[in-house]
Symmetry: C5
Subunit: 363 residues, 5 copies
């Protein structure tokens, strides 16, 4: 049906970048940009009475905790050494597809339920101090007595949680791995609020500039960047909402019923985040309209100045032109006060036109 | 997949405000703006034959009513003294997450069902006399024989209901806590109608200004403010609609079947509110288009004036210029009536052009 | 989360109109505009062999028909005498909420099923001869052997039905109250087609004006009025569609199975109406775009005239200016035919520019 | 709630056309435009071994085939003689509502299942040679051994099918009435592809004109006509999609299971049609934007010409004006080569400005 | 209802192309553009220990593998020799509708489940080196021990898979025909990422041009081409998503449970593709807005230049005109330094206006 159309060829060059080689599914290849980071392991082992923390660069230090009677949180920073990930995956019996997803940084948020563990993928969002928007790929394996998290690089939003674990604040030390999972996700979602708040600050900054008429040339570009940021936030938030919804409803034995109340609360928060995303998205789209109106208003003002100047001085110039003519007989030229009378007429025309523009509210 | 894109950096400053610290879930921290309000307690205890009212600043006055055989409405004003809320929560056995939600002012409307009570969060909307839009966070615990409401500050929409309670008007004194809950929500939803009506008044005011051509510069800003208001109203209304829908369908023993008819009616009202919100939303978005058309129409008018003035006087000036030349031999200059003939020609051109513009309907 | 934003205050005055007092639910207060109409009662009592009609201003004439073995249609015109409505409601045992809905003119269309009757609210739409759009609130109680209808004022779309009842045309005399209900709703829906047809006439009128370039200034306002009308029609149609859908699926004993075919057909019609509403809505929104294009096209034409006039005469004026200079030595001025040569040059420039604009298709 | 708004009255005349009289449901009144067509009957009676065809203008020739052991296709052309339709309807025991739908040309596509037959309404679309879009109302009754089709006028898309029937090509002669129904619908849907293809040709024609800058004035009108055509096509396609979906899922005994595969294929085709409709719809809406951009680009070009001409010659004219002054003492006027020096200055200014505009890429 | 509208006739010619003849369903007619390609057969027969590959132009070489105990992948290139397809179809007992779908290149992606095999239709997308967008129709029959694929022409995205098959890399040699089916689809979906990446490169190229102000005239056309490409990609992706979703949920015995994990992962990928499509679609639509803003900004700049030049020199020209008049008595003309005083005044006006425009930020 579309076969018969003649093709119009784009004048833009075709850059066939991103040749994604079709590898065997389950191949563990890191696809992110943080490629030179050595893998670090952080192991927090705790229960009501016990707390220990090990920091290491040796993945094998994370082995053997499954037999401890404590809850263990194993946090891996740095995904480019895929061999290490594979060793860990083998030890903890992770499905090859999970291993692939851990290092595939463009994997969207999702949850897979396996018999012995839950596998959850999500995104950690933040702005750098330079204002760049960072979207870090994080995944999490939740087993009976352990949670393993995988991050692309150092630095995360879980310092508050680490503090609570160490100092036995809140409920977290008295509960199982399911509550730890909740607490980790809760920190992620709380952080989304911060990110959205920063974004809303940017939107208001542009709005204020538009309202106070301080707009410089590149605002379209700014708006376009905001559009992309909100779309990327949305891409992190919307699938995570589904994940948490499924977490709330799943009947896995890994999650105790008393944790369900907390997950329900978390679901509430993520819905709130996603509603905010939708609202700010609409606002960003609206900025473009506002900008267009601003441009049109400015053009209107430019046109008015031109019209007023031209409309006043063109007739006056004409009047002067009349008496610059060299006809032999122009009676007015001989009048003694001709020149002054003409000045009077010109001043009349001048104020008449001023009054006309005043009445039109152009002045 | 998006990894290879070069980043464009925004020229706008990044204000990393709103650093939301990830606290342990269930931590009771007030997040609103009304921070210096002392907590007030208002207790109305009634049944068919009995009515008493206590106003106090001591939270403990609200204890002990669970054993009364009357219906008790405990209304708390002021949420910043979180200690008081926690004491009440402890006494009435409220889940820590509920205590957190009571003081978290950006919590969206929701309902949680617990075994012994329902917990409902909603928003009370109103305009101050200065025209500021106020969005007050309110929550409600509905138990077997009592309803507890939590407001950020004094002043609410329940005076009509207090009056009916005191004077035993309407059904409310003859019914249980479930009907009281309905009556409280009904007053909230009725008030939404007022708020929307006020908003519709603003929309019409702007519309009228647009139609009567009295628009001043800052209308984009006004429209933007309206957009934000309608989005905030929507954010209060849409989740409350879900809440009431669930109230209608829940099979909790806390709500008697004869109250269901009233809740169904309430659901009807909230749907009506939310339909109005959608319609006014569309209208506000339409205002921007109307404004753009107004601007374009004005620019058209400006252009016409310029075109008419310039098109008439430029050719005339040219004609005068011709006979201002100093050629030794310009025959017309010697003609006796040359000057007057030229005037005639100029007047012809003048009226010819006027006629032309008239026919084009520019005049 | 939105708490930290500085408020921008609207410059538009806040008119806190529509202070809706929160009355006790079930309070019967007329909210419409037809406040001085005396209540009229019209009672048509019929079966296969019998037909009688009573017109009265006494509500009590409508009592006692429940025991007749005929089908009775009681039509009440005028809702402002709420006392009368309450008396009727008491006699026929109508729930207080129903009595409230009968006189609450902004109640949206809905159906409530009670044990002994169905309660249906809908809207009767029509244009007055002056072109005002009227949205009349109508409600209907359908019992075992009777149908009661409540209208705000005289005049409705049921004269065809009255005629068929009186003259025993069609099926209506041979069937029960359920078929009468269907016939009443069918007339309402048929009338929606007329209303939409009238609206489509208006749309085409504006379209034709736009196409034939006869547009006057106030077309934005016209389009805005059309927008509001279509939104109000939509508000009447969409909930009624749900009502009829539920009527089709309900398993009440009040509706016989042989009437179901007719209701299915009616559902079909209301879907057709609502599809038309959506299409015309889109068309009305499109009118604004068309108008913008028209404005832009006109501005283009204005600009072309200005550009042509200015571009031709400004260079010519310059040429004349050159030879108006008073230099002592300008050789051309002494040439005998200098003046005529210049004229030649000017005519060349004139036609050259004309040709240029012709080639650009501006002429 | 909307009651208090002051009414703005449209300046456009109200044409209360289309007064649709509310007739008794089941009344058979032809509502189309082809009112003077005599009813023609075409009867094709066939089975594996037998084929006969009768063309007649007498509706009674279509009676009596129900007892034949062949499959019978009765095709009626011309619906304005409603008496004939009623006679046929009576003979074949068609429900009054079916008879009404057969002649109600604005009935939307639908399927009604009755015990003895299926009733299907759909639209036959085509363009006349003059380019008018025709939307013909067709209905079909599918019984055990017969299919009856009702068309408004001669001429249809079934000649290929007639050919296959006569020459025993394909499966159709070996199968039952259900396959005939499928074949008839299949031809209708195949024809939709042709119609959409023609429409896409129009869209591309306008696109090409826009791209090659050959646009004349009335393109808004053309786009508006396209919008209406696509909306009418959509109105025929979308409900038919539902019909075919229901046909696929219905468990009527009238359709054999081996025909289900074919209907599933047909459903696939109609989905494809409706996807195309949505895509072309979006394209048509996009045309308007493209046109706006074209207009703006043109205005930009007009403005540039004006700006260049004016910006170059206005300063030059000023320079000439200076030396046209009559001051007694203007030293430059006495210089011998003053005139030529001024020309030099003027040429410098001229080329300087040209260079400036060149650098701005306006030339 | 729409019958009474007067028809407006398009001025554009009606090209009734694409006369699609309604052939009997199941007729095998090739509808694509690659009509002169001889059919090639590639047969890969393998199991854990065995691998053989046959390339042939004789379709019969593909027969007989059903009895082999290996998995067989039969890949057919070239669909225009429909006789060959029919022979294969007959041998493998393919339903006539399947044979039709194999060669109907505009068939949308779908899956049909038959008892002995699954039939899947999808699209292979790629850009040629010249930048043309190619949409190749591919279908696949998945039986117990074999997969047959049908392509329009040579060249596909399965070379990586062929390599893995030959060299026994990955899981594919150890698994059944269901995993082969998955691997084939996985390569298709992976390739969609490449295609989208290329498209995103084009979008960014246009964006960069817009931001760096290098836009040439034909950008509307480029955007329009992008719109069409994204719509065609969407048309390939969205129905395939449904297909894979159904594959995940189907309970056919042809797919082993251990393959389900892989298909779930594939579904995840196709969702990711379709989300990207939606995002880029929105971006492309946004480009048009950005372009409009760019045009308006340029026009603004043009207007400013004109306004500044005209506003400065028109008053100056007027001043010069005054003293070019020939009145007998103009006192200033006799002043000795009149000329220089005037120059002073002119320079004052000049800089005054410059300062004015500076303050307005036009310079």
């Amino acid at each position: 049906m579309t076969a018969r159309k003649k093709k119009r060829r784009l004048k833009i060059p075709i850059i066939k970048r991103a040749i994604i080689h079709n590898e065997a599914p389950g191949t563990v290849t890191y696809t992110g940009k943080k490629a030179n980071i050595s893998t670090k392991v952080e192991i927090i082992d705790y229960n009501k009475d016990h707390y220990s923390r090990v920091d290491s660069e040796n993945i094998e230090d994370a082995f053997g905790f499954e037999s401890s009677k404590h809850i263990t949180w194993i946090n891996i920073n740095g995904l480019n050494n895929t061999k290490e990930i594979e060793r860990l995956g083998e030890y903890y019996n992770l499905h090859p597809l999970i291993q692939e997803d851990i290092v595939t940084t463009n994997q969207r948020p999702k949850m897979d339920e396996y018999e012995e563990y839950l596998f959850i993928v999500f995104k950690m969002l933040h702005y750098t101090d330079e204002g760049d928007f960072i979207n870090e790929h994080v995944s999490m394996v939740v087993g009976k007595d352990y949670v393993t998290t995988f991050q692309e690089a150092d630095g995360d939003v879980w310092d508050g949680l680490r503090d609570r674990l160490e100092n036995a604040k809140g409920r977290v030390r008295n509960t199982g791995a399911d509550y730890l999972m909740f607490a980790l996700l809760d920190a992620i979602v709380d952080n989304y609020f911060s990110v959205i708040e920063t974004l809303s600050g940017k939107i208001e900054y542009i709005e204020d500039q538009l309202f106070e008429d301080k707009v410089e040339d590149d605002i379209t570009q700014d708006i376009q960047v905001l559009k992309k940021e909100i779309l990327r936030i949305r891409r992190a938030v919307v699938p995570l909402r589904e994940v948490i919804n499924r977490l709330e409803k799943t009947d896995t034995e890994l999650i105790e019923s008393r944790t369900q109340n907390y997950i329900r609360d978390l679901y509430d928060h993520i819905i709130q985040v996603s509603e905010s995303v939708d609202i700010y998205r609409e606002m960003i789209w609206g900025l473009m309209d506002m900008y267009m109106t601003t441009i049109s208003n400015k053009m209107n003002e430019v046109m008015k100045v031109l019209t007023i100047m031209a409309s006043i001085f063109i007739p006056l110039t004409f009047m002067a032109g009349i008496y610059g003519m060299n006809f032999e007989y122009i009676p007015e030229l001989q009048y003694k006060y001709g020149y002054f009378v003409l000045w009077g007429a010109m001043i009349l025309v001048f104020f008449g036109l001023l009054y006309y523009f005043k009445r039109k509210k152009w002045l």
